[in-house]
Structures are given as C-alpha cells and as structure tokens.
C-alpha cells in the first residue's frame, strides 16, 4: 500500500464548487449503485504528493497483485481500459450517470469513471472479468445468459457488478424492489431491466437452494 493522498474526482469537483452529479433515474438511489466516489480518508492527513507525471501504485486486480503506473488525474476507468486494455468495463457517460463502468472496490460498487486510479492503491478491484471462478462463469453470469438479460450487452458488465454485490451483501430472499434499487444507477437502452431482475432472482434462488 502506498501512502498516497486519497484524491477523488468528486472531491476535486467539489473543490471547484461544481454540483455533484446524480446516478439514479427514478427517485432516490438506494446508494447501492450510486456513483459515490471513494473518500475514506481526510486528504489533509496522510498526504503525499504524486504527479505531475506517472506514479506507481499497487493494487489487487481480479485477484492478482499488480503494480501499475498512472497519472494523478487518470481515472480508474482509463487505467483499466486504456492502459491495461482490460475492456469489459465500459465507458458510456464518463460522469457517474449510467453505471456502465461499475466495478467492485473492496467489494463495494463504484463507478470507475468517478474514481481516480490512485485511489485504489492497496485495494482490491474486481471487474466483470473477475466474476468467473477459474474460468467458470458465476451463477449470476449464467442466469444472465439463460434468461436473456442482455441484448447489445453494453450495460451488462455494470449490471453484473451491481447485482453481484447485491447477492453477496443480501441475506435472505431478495425482493424485486431490492434489485431495482441495486440497478437504479445502471442504464440499459435496450430495455433489459426485467430480465436482469429475473436473472438476479434466479441466481439468488440457486444460492439459497444450496
């Protein structure tokens, strides 16, 4: 773990007096899929300057330890897609409005476009590529395919991340409303929400049947 400052893009925006952007499209978000950036630490404490050039950081990415270099202003999304060519995570709005770039950071759903790469130093990042276990798709991934929870597939990785997090968090049987809450920040232009809900319910059912 580097002792780098916990810079966040939202923190920067706030610093500039810009209004935060909102992810939900109907009613308040449950917060489960909201585009909250990570800011666990007070930036004034524990501050080490990085940049302006590339600076190294260590993270765990889909279960493997990685050391990468990133510019201080680079988002996690740019790091994944452009630098590491791990492209399952999609860029759609690049400002926290659509959920297509959702990843898990220490198990929490985050928008990779609203997270600075250096903010994941020392943390565990899981992308859609990391949802399978030794090459075998997760029950949720299988249910997505079986129940046709994808058409063009561009929202799919974000949906899977939101729903995986819900499945690992939720105790007891899932309700439709819980799933709708979990994906309230995930936009799908092809209109797959119903099938996403059905697939998540089915994966949850399979789990409880074990």
């Amino acid at each position: 773990m580097t002792g780098a400052t916990k810079l966040t893009r939202r923190g920067l925006l706030r610093g500039f007096g810009a209004a935060p952007v909102i992810a939900s499209c109907a009613g308040p978000s449950s917060g489960e899929a909201a585009a909250e950036a990570v800011s666990p630490a007070d930036p004034l404490i524990d501050a080490v300057a990085i940049g302006p050039g590339l600076a190294p950081l260590d993270l765990r990415l889909n279960g493997a330890a990685r050391t990468v270099e990133a510019a201080p202003q680079a988002t996690l999304l740019a790091l994944l897609r452009d630098q590491l060519a791990i492209t399952g995570t999609k860029e759609v709005c690049d400002r926290g409005a659509c959920g297509a770039c959702n990843v898990l950071i220490d198990g929490e759903v985050r928008s990779a476009c609203m997270t600075l790469a250096h903010d994941v130093a020392g943390r565990e990042v899981t992308t859609v590529e990391g949802l399978a276990t030794s090459g075998a798709p997760s029950p949720l991934q299988r249910a997505f395919v079986e129940l046709d929870a994808l058409q063009c597939g561009y929202c799919t990785s974000g949906m899977l991340i939101s729903c995986s997090a819900l499945l690992s968090r939720a105790r007891g049987p899932l309700s439709r409303a819980q799933i709708q809450g979990a994906i309230a920040g995930n936009l799908c232009r092809c209109g797959c929400y119903e099938q996403v809900i059905a697939a998540t319910l089915s994966a949850a059912g399979e789990r409880s049947a074990l």
Partner: protein, 782 residues
C-alpha cells in the same frame, strides 16, 4: 401471390394465416426455392426459446466492441466542434496543435467561409498518443468564428423572416434505417420543405359529410437515440490502397462503401469488422455520424499519422451530432358520420430534424384505420440550427401514432363511444382485429375502464386510465441482398457465414437455429460467423429487415448443403435419391438403412460441402398488404394502464400488454426481449425524454445522461408480451420484422390512457407532471 408458372417459377400450396384463421393459399416461388415453412411445418429448433449464442462472451466481458479495439501504436482522435448555433468560419489553422504533447496528426474538417449550422458542427480533428493529450490539444487549434443569426425553435423557424438555415436546396440523407418508399423531393419555402404525403379519397368532401368533427394540435419532442456505445470507428491502413475498419455500425457494408468512396478505394479493399455493437437504434449507418464526418476524420488522420486511429465520440458529442427523432407539430382533423363511421382523416404535420430532413410522421394515420375512405397526411420538414435527425426505431411512426390515436380517443369521447370499439370498426387487417380482440379479453378492458371511471367520478387522489393503440410496419425483407454461406466439414463441423452485424437482436442465434433445423443437428454444433465484411454481403440492421433478409438465405444455403449430403448418402447406401429421407437427428435414411451424420461427413470428398445462397423477393403477403406495396403489413397493438397521482401530477405507466407478431417467431426468447425493449423505449419517450435547446443561445442544455432522462429499472412497467404467430408466406422461413413495430404504439397507448385517467387530453409529449396538472386544472391540450 400466385401467378402462371413459367420455366423459372413454381406454384406451391401453403397453409397460411394465423390462430384459427388458417387457409390454403397458392404462392409462386422460384423453381429452386425450398418449400416455404408454413403452418404445417413442425420445427424443433426454430421457434424454441434459445439463449443467444454470444451471451457468455457478453457476460464475461470478453466481447470486443469498437471502443475496445486496442492495436499496437494506435492513436486516439478528438474533434473540435463549433460552439455556435450558426457561424461562419473566418480562420482555421491546425498547425499549432501539431506542436502539442503527443499529437501526431491534425486535419481541418471545415473550410474558411463555411457556414457551421449547429452547435457541435465539425471544425477540425487531431490524433494523439493518448485520449487526454488529444482532448487537451484541441484548444491549441487556432480558430475564429463570425456568429450569425440562428433559429432553434420549430415554430419560430416557420415564421416569415426567420433566419434561413440553408441557403440552397437540401438533399435528403436516407439510410437503411429509413422506411422504404418515404422519400420526398419537396419544394422549400423559407425553412419549410414539403415532405412525404399520402392521400386517398377526398378528405375535404369527407369532412363536409361529417356530423361530428374533432380538430386539435399535437406536439412531440426531440428524442435522442442515446445508444450506450457512442459512434466510433478504428481505421488501420494496410497499405496505401487497403484499409481495415472496426466500426460500431448497424450496416457493415454502408461503412465499407462510404470509406471506399471517401478515399477512392475499391469497396473490396475496405474490410469492415463489427463483432459486437452497443446499440444503434437507427443512428449508426455509414462510417460517419449524421452530423459528423467521422469516416473521413479517422481515415485521414490514420493516413497522415501512418498509424491506426481510434475515434470514439464522448457522450456530449453523441447527444449533439449523431442523430435524433425529430419533433412534430401535428394538426389532426377527424370527421365521423352519425353512425360513428369515420368520414375523413386529415393530418398536417411539421417537424424539425434540425439541419436535416426526415420529419415525416409515418403511416399510422394513413394505414391503420383504412376503412375510412378519405385520408390525407401531409408532412413538412422545418429546418432549424440544431443537430441533424436520422432514422430512429420506426422513423416517424411513434410521433404519428401518438397524434392519430389520441385524436381518435378524443373523437370517441365526443361521440360517447368506446375507443376500442371505434378502432375495431375501422381496422381492416384481420390480424390487427384479432389482436385487438385478444387484448380486450386479456387486459380486461371493460372491467378496468369501468373501475378507472368510477375512481375518476368519485374524485380519488390516485386515478387509473386504460388506453390502446396500434402499430403498422411493412415486411422489408430484401431480395438478393444477403449471401449466406453454409459449410459442413469432414469432421462434422458446421459453419454459417455472413457479413451481418448483431445489433443486439440475436441474429447470430437465429442463423444458427435455422441451419441446425435444416441439418437436424444441435445448435451447439453450429458455429455462426458474422460481423465482418469478408463473410459475404449482407443488409444493414434497420427497418426491421435483418432476420427476414438473412434467415431465409441461411435456410436456402443449408438446404443446398443438405441436398449435396443426401446425394452422397444415396450413393453410399446405394439407393436412389428419391428414397432418401433426412432424420431429425441429421442422419440420412433409405429404407431400413441409415447413415449417421458424422459417418456421412467423413465420406465427404475434399474438405467440406459448401453452398452459398440468397433469398428471392417476397412471394407472399397473407393476409394483408402494406398500403401501396406488395409486401406484408405487420400488425401490432398495445394496451396501457396508467396510474396518476392527482396531487403531484405524476403519471406512471403501470402495465403494458404488447401483442405483436413477426411472422413466424424464430426465437421467442430474444424476440420477447426486443419487444420489451421497444416498449420501454416508448415509455421513456412518452413520459421522460426531451432534448432541450436554449432559444437564446442555441445550445443543447442536456447533452448527457443525467439531465436527459431515460427510463431506468424503477420506471419499468409490468410488460406482458404476446406473440400472435402469422404465416404470411413471405419467404422460406416466414420471418418478418419486429424491432420497429414494438416501439410504435407505446407512447400513443399511454397518452390515450392518460386521457382516460384525467378526462382531458395531454396533447404534448412527454407527459410530464406540469402538463398533467394543467390538464387536471381544466386546460385542454396542456
């Protein structure tokens, strides 16, 4: 459609129709055409709900979209766009940008003296080693604009003396996403240009005969496609005469042809690859976007840089310059006789596709209530200084359906008639009538109407409303446009090849199903290769024509392969070919002897049995033709139930019953998804979406996904999809389209349900709380 047989044709008797209305019909097909699948064909793979074959690629993140293409040495492009609603370019110099960090090439996209007609117009492009460097360098381009008067409001643009958007006549830009036959070359006056028009009988006379009339103005908003993957392409020059293009496109061959034309290449020397694309909805034809010369920019930058260039628009650019559904202002006049029969329908429509044409209002008013003898629909394009429109899922139809269907309901209200009964009295298409009757029962129309009216009468806070609307679309399956190749190797491996792209509709899967069906093999043994121009000519995925153009070609090719295999089997079994039959497990049988598929394949001489085929022109249109065409008319209806909070004005779509048909449903699982998607798009259009332009500055205020609202999971109504299979005899598999019809009647049915809930019409989309509250407060039309 039967005729005299000749040396090239034959007559075939088929069982055609739907539900319990099946009958023997003779159609004339080419001599070598297989017997078309009809109501008597018992199929085992086609028609089964089948998960899409590329599903696990998409669910694992491994599917490669254009945005995901990463090539060695690849550069990233960015485009400088005019910030002015209208301006003349006075000065442009890209040289300074070349000195910026990482920048490798820069090209102007406009010339000094050009009029840049909307905010977002191309000015110049550059390519750099990273996206950040490319974007940062744009500010180094030296540019000076002279702002000019502009107009962005449709009504204002229609006034005499409004700033003239185009100085010269405008030619229509049409794509495979547009409905065939709608072209117009109308004369222009000011910013107004006559668009497509349809007419029958004498509407003036019809209105004179009327005992009851209704006349009102209906308006709809500009609607953006908002596909999740933005317009994008990657260009790599292989040598000075050949290039490879990865493109997020609905029409691989439209990209090939455009790039070949721009760069003076032979089409065969342009290879286009679209393995997957993140939605299109009509906006992605050709290498360029409707409002941005992406093909030239990426190709020229790659040429100058001597390196591959990736050009992916950002969200703002996508919302500004890649197309939209035009707005509309529709004056609808209806007349009915004392018996309630419609005597006239007259629609005068104006709409703005920004700087482009394409503001027609579809065929709903002309084609659905065709028992009305006098109909005239006149449409006009109004030019404004806004991003160009382009085909958007059923171009013209949702806005046209909204106006005519709501007007019909208002007329019914005036006459004290049930709106569903009024529709049934005027609908000619037997399938549509059947669908309306089916929906009446399934949706419990009468009971729910009564319940909603009782709530309204007692002044309940939460009100309900129920409405219904129809769709009309044509079977636009194209003849000889798609060439599908099927091969069976000595190892038994089955390949299907065609250069179609999968928009998310599941065409890959359908092609596999059709070939598996013909060869009697499991789908898992069939590999479908699509998404590459080298795999053979194909159609663009627009106008609901892909399945009906490609699936019959696949069947025809598979039948040819099967015939060759049968011949081989006959020889091996030493029986005449006439005795040979094909088992459902793919084995060849003659008398008591049979030869399993794999064994037979091992005997193939050479490496494989291969055949390529296409499909002929539509040979059947049973039971109803499209107005003015020889092709089948696709019918659909949707019923909507809405819930209204009279305190807040919030209107929610609670339930939609969507009854549709796509001829023979090849894959009910993916077809159902497509219909649900069409419905949700319609809900979003009806209640939420609107592009907003500031009139004083000519700027789009919501070119993003947070203030341009599209429906999310919590806006989802309960959607009940019912397929009513129709055997039309149109082609060898019986496929007709579904993509467009599914979204046509949704907003209209919601608007009718809103009228029912409120008691007064909201004549403008989207139906937002302020408009609902105004209607509740007694303002007609809101």
């Amino acid at each position: 459609m039967s005729q005299e047989e000749d040396s090239l044709t034959k007559n075939v008797r088929l069982r055609l129709g739907f539900a319990d209305q099946l009958r023997e019909v003779t159609v004339t097909t080419p001599k070598d055409e297989p017997r078309p699948w009809d109501a008597d064909s018992a199929l085992t793979v086609v028609g089964q709900p089948t998960p899409r074959v590329e599903g696990s690629l998409k669910a694992s993140g491994a599917a490669v979209y254009t945005h995901d293409v990463r090539l060695p040495g690849m550069l990233y492009a960015a485009i400088l766009r005019s910030p002015h609603a209208c301006a003349t370019l006075e000065h442009l110099d890209v040289a300074a940008a070349l000195a910026q960090p990482g920048v490798v090439a820069a090209v102007p996209l406009a010339k000094v003296g050009d009029r840049l007609r909307f905010a977002g117009h191309d000015v110049a492009a550059l390519a750099a080693r990273s996206r950040d460097e490319a974007r940062a360098a744009l500010s180094a381009i030296a540019v000076r604009y002279r702002p000019e008067p502009f107009v962005v409001d449709t009504l204002e643009a229609m006034q005499p003396g409004a700033p003239q958007v185009h100085a010269a006549a405008v030619s229509e830009r049409r794509t495979e996403g547009d409905e065939p036959g709608e072209a117009s070359g109308g004369a222009a006056r000011g910013n107004v240009r006559l668009g497509p028009s349809q007419s029958k009988g004498d509407h003036k006379k019809g209105l004179r005969q009327a005992k009851v009339t209704h006349s009102a103005t209906y308006t709809t908003q500009v609607h953006t496609h908002s596909a999740l993957e933005t317009h994008s392409l990657v260009v790599r020059w292989e040598d000075p005469r050949r290039m490879t293009v990865w493109c997020s496109t609905q029409g691989i061959f439209s990209v090939r042809d455009e790039m070949a034309e721009i760069f003076g290449l032979k089409p065969a020397d342009v290879r286009v690859i679209t393995e997957h694309l993140g939605g299109g909805f009509g906006a992605k034809f050709g290498a360029s976007a409707p409002g941005s010369r992406l093909g030239y920019a990426a190709g020229e930058l790659a040429r100058r840089a001597g390196a591959p260039v990736s050009l992916c628009l950002d969200r703002r650019e996508e919302q500004l310059c890649t197309g939209n559904r035009p707005d509309s202002i529709q004056q609808v006049t209806l007349g009915a006789g004392a018996d309630g029969a419609l005597t006239a329908i007259h629609v005068v429509a104006h709409g703005s596709g920004g700087i482009a044409t394409g503001a027609g209002v579809g065929r709903s008013a002309f084609g659905v209530y065709s028992r009305c003898p006098n109909i005239k629909v006149e449409s006009h394009d109004v030019f404004t200084n806004a991003g160009p429109s382009t085909a958007f899922r059923a171009p013209g139809h949702p806005q046209g359906a909204f106006a005519i269907e709501l007007a019909i309901d208002e007329l019914a209200q005036k006459m004290g008639r049930d709106p569903l009964a009024l529709r049934l009295a005027h609908v000619e298409h037997a399938v549509r009538r059947y669908q309306l009757e089916l929906g009446r029962e399934r949706f419990q129309w009468a009971a729910r109407r009564a319940e909603a009216e009782a709530r309204r009468a007692r002044g309940a806070r939460i009100r309900h409303g129920v409405g219904v609307a129809c769709s009309i679309w044509g079977d636009y399956g194209r003849a000889k446009a798609a060439v599908v190749t099927v091969s069976v190797g000595r190892d038994g491996a089955i390949f299907v090849r065609n250069g179609a792209q999968d928009l998310g509709t599941g065409i890959r899967t359908v092609l596999g199903q059709v070939v598996a069906e013909v060869l009697g093999r499991p789908l898992a043994e069939v590999t479908v290769l699509i998404g590459d121009s080298e795999l053979g000519p194909s159609v663009g995925s627009g106008g609901s024509q892909t399945t009906s153009s490609v699936a019959p070609a696949a069947r025809n090719a598979a039948e040819m392969v099967r015939a060759q295999l049968a011949e081989l089997a006959a020889r091996l079994l030493d029986r005449p070919i006439s005795e040979l039959s094909w088992g459902t497990d793919g084995s060849a049988r003659a008398g008591r002897r049979s030869l399993p598929f794999r064994e037979l394949c091992q005997k193939i001489e050479g490496e494989a049995v291969v055949a390529s085929a296409t499909r002929p022109k539509t040979y059947g249109a049973h039971p109803m033709r499209y107005p003015g065409g020889d092709n089948y008319q696709i019918a659909g209806v949707q019923f909507a139930a809405v819930e209204l909070d009279t305190w807040t004005g919030e209107l929610r779509a609670a339930e939609i019953l969507a009854i549709h048909e796509c001829g023979r449903t090849h894959n009910p699982l993916t077809a159902r998804s497509q219909v649900q998607g069409g419905v949700l798009l319609g809900v979003s259009y009806a209640l939420m979406e609107a592009r907003v332009i500031d009139r004083r500055f000519g700027q789009v205020l919501n070119p993003n996904l947070e203030s341009y609202k599209i429906a999310g999971a919590r806006d989802l109504p309960a959607i009940d999809v019912v397929f009513c299979e129709v055997h039309t005899g149109a082609n060898s598999t019986g496929a007709v389209g579904i993509g467009e019809p599914a979204t046509i009647p949704t907003a209209a049915s919601i608007a009718c349900a809103a009228l029912h809930a409120i008691g007064r019409p909201v004549r403008s989309l989207p139906i937002t709380p302020d408009r609902v509250l105004a209607a509740l407060a007694g303002q007609d039309g809101a």
